[in-house]
Symmetry: none
Subunit: 198 residues, 4 copies
DNA sequence: TATGAATGAGGGTTCATTCAT
DNA sequence: AATGAATGAACCCTCATTCAT
């Protein structure tokens, strides 16, 4: 069984090693060899599963996105009201970021300065996400849970807030971490006020 | 004075070349030689003014930050009310981003994945900015222009929104640019609702 | 016997695949895996039959040499006169080169720049060939079919000519192929004049 | 002056080092670093002068070709008769090969198995050479120095012979070198008999 | 016997930095 | 002060070979 364990999903082991190393060093400073070591496989083995460093990076991002999406959608599906959904969105996202800071770093790694080509691939994933969220907002507006507003503007406000809070979680010095639970609740409060019907 | 002028001029030319090249290629793919060419100086000259590529990058960021700050503070000082100030903040920022997309890219380049050391240096600048903004929010709260809320939460909401809209401006396909003026106004509206006294 | 047949068959299939791939890609750029695929066997199987890529290359060359020698000697044995033999030598060689351009490329692959070790091994085969041909020339000289000349010089002239014509066949652009039949006949003519008794 | 010497024509030093190393190791096994060492320059310096290993190889070949051509044409221009010219051709070529065995190896390095792309580039140089020689043969035929024969066939005979003799010079074991002077004279004799008017 | 997943040595190339002029 | 030729450390990727099944 041990052999099995070792063989089993070497691909996954490499992706997880990639998450660790890329989030530690960044795309350009991470060495493929280091990822291989972290995954406890040979350097050549990485190339059995991924055509290049860049492809590994992208597949790693897709993997992290998917994990987050799975986590998120499961939680959102339980939401009864918009307020409930908003809370779950923030809570589940922050939880994910806190539990998987490495993945979080990777999920937030979307700047042309990292790599133009990678950036473009990520923009697509993001567009998907935005369309999904716009759909939800349309529903809740129709149901009268929030007042009719420019949905794109609403998305900017909600996800901008979420993004910045996550940035705090991920980037903040351990020493001066604020109370994120409270912070997010207060931010949600402002958002709800902003979007409330009356 | 002439020598001094020339020196100052050369330094500035290098910084501006750095803005152009770094925003085009990203930190790691930009080559010092290319920056030197863009600045029309010799490669060695760059090292007369900046100790390393990384230091040049940081000084370039500081320069862009400063330009933005100057632009911003001048505008904010004219604001009479919080709403006015919020509008000026969004307008001036978006204008800056649109006019100087290169600088904008550079200002948003703050992710450990680009370079851990650079990231740390930038966190400081950001903290400054946040303290400045917290001060303003304290004032307007005291003056009763907005209801008393967790100021850090307010900052997350405001600057998250601003950040995401700017991201749209800077990263969006030219072909499908939304109406940013409208988008920002609608977002401000939501924010004002969220923060309004009643 | 069946197992034996299969074994012999597999070995031969690998050699023929090697001829195809090595002549297509050259020694260094050919990959063992590609040869295995062409032979429709596993990569490891190649190593069951040949100790290394280099040994496979050599055995492939020996195989091609042998095929050519068989082809040639059968034909030369029918020759009644030196002129007849010379014509058969040229004809049969050119036919072989045209029919088996791949093998031809491989037979002409004898340059230290390809691989010093391989080169040395091939020099031996060549020496054999030269001794064989010298023997024939001695006979025809003794029989008075050609005038007495430095036999080594005669070999240089004959085989140099043959070599260059074959080079034309093998390397020439398909688009501007000369009439090789005529070319070789005219070259033989010059050679015969050069070696004729009177 | 020493500094000057060291700086002067670093490019040439690299080409000469390339001749030494490529002829010793062959194209694929030669390491750029070794060439750099032989030229007493840094590895990076090679890339200041040549875009790639392959380009260096080609420029090296062109250099050797040119040196040989210069050497040859100077000598051929002095020839009064075809026989004289033929002797000079053989003599000068063999001398060149003996004096510059390394360059000789490099000049004879023209097989698709070394590198398809390099091979193609070299075919061109060869075509040039052949056209030049065909021109000379036309002249001597017109002048009645040799009987009218298929010129291409004549070229095959002459250059095939020359090629094989050079091969002997370059590739032969030092221990059993024949008398090349005699060998070439005897071969020329056969050629002249073959091409003579009567 | 046959296989192909795993390996890691090896090398071409890039580019930040230095330093002699 | 200004330059750019020279440098070599660093790193991605290839592929011959091995070996457990």
């Amino acid at each position: 069984m041990l052999a099995n364990d070792r063989t089993a999903d070497k691909r996954l082991r490499i992706i997880q090693a990639a998450i660790a190393v890329f989030s530690r060093k960044g795309f350009h400073k991470a060495r493929v060899e280091e990822i291989a070591e972290e995954a406890e496989v040979g350097k050549g083995t990485v190339y059995e599963y991924f055509a290049s460093k860049k492809e590994l990076f992208l597949e790693m991002i897709f993997y992290a996105h998917q994990k987050y999406r799975e986590f998120l959608e499961q939680e959102l599906s339980k939401a009864k009201t918009f307020y409930d959904g908003l809370q779950r969105l923030f809570e589940v996202t922050m939880q994910f970021m806190q539990r998987h800071k490495e993945m979080a770093l990777v999920l937030m790694a979307d700047h042309p300065m990292i790599d133009e080509e990678i950036h473009k691939a990520l923009r697509q994933k993001e567009q998907e996400q935005l369309r999904f969220m716009t759909g939800i907002l349309q529903d809740v507006t129709r149901r009268g849970e929030i007042r009719p507003v420019n949905l794109q503007a609403a998305i900017m406000v909600i996800f901008g807030t979420l993004y910045l809070i996550n940035g705090q979680i991920v980037f903040c010095d351990k020493t001066q971490e604020p109370d994120f639970k409270q912070l997010s609740q207060d931010a949600i409060d402002i958002l709800m006020h902003g979007l409330a019907v009356k």
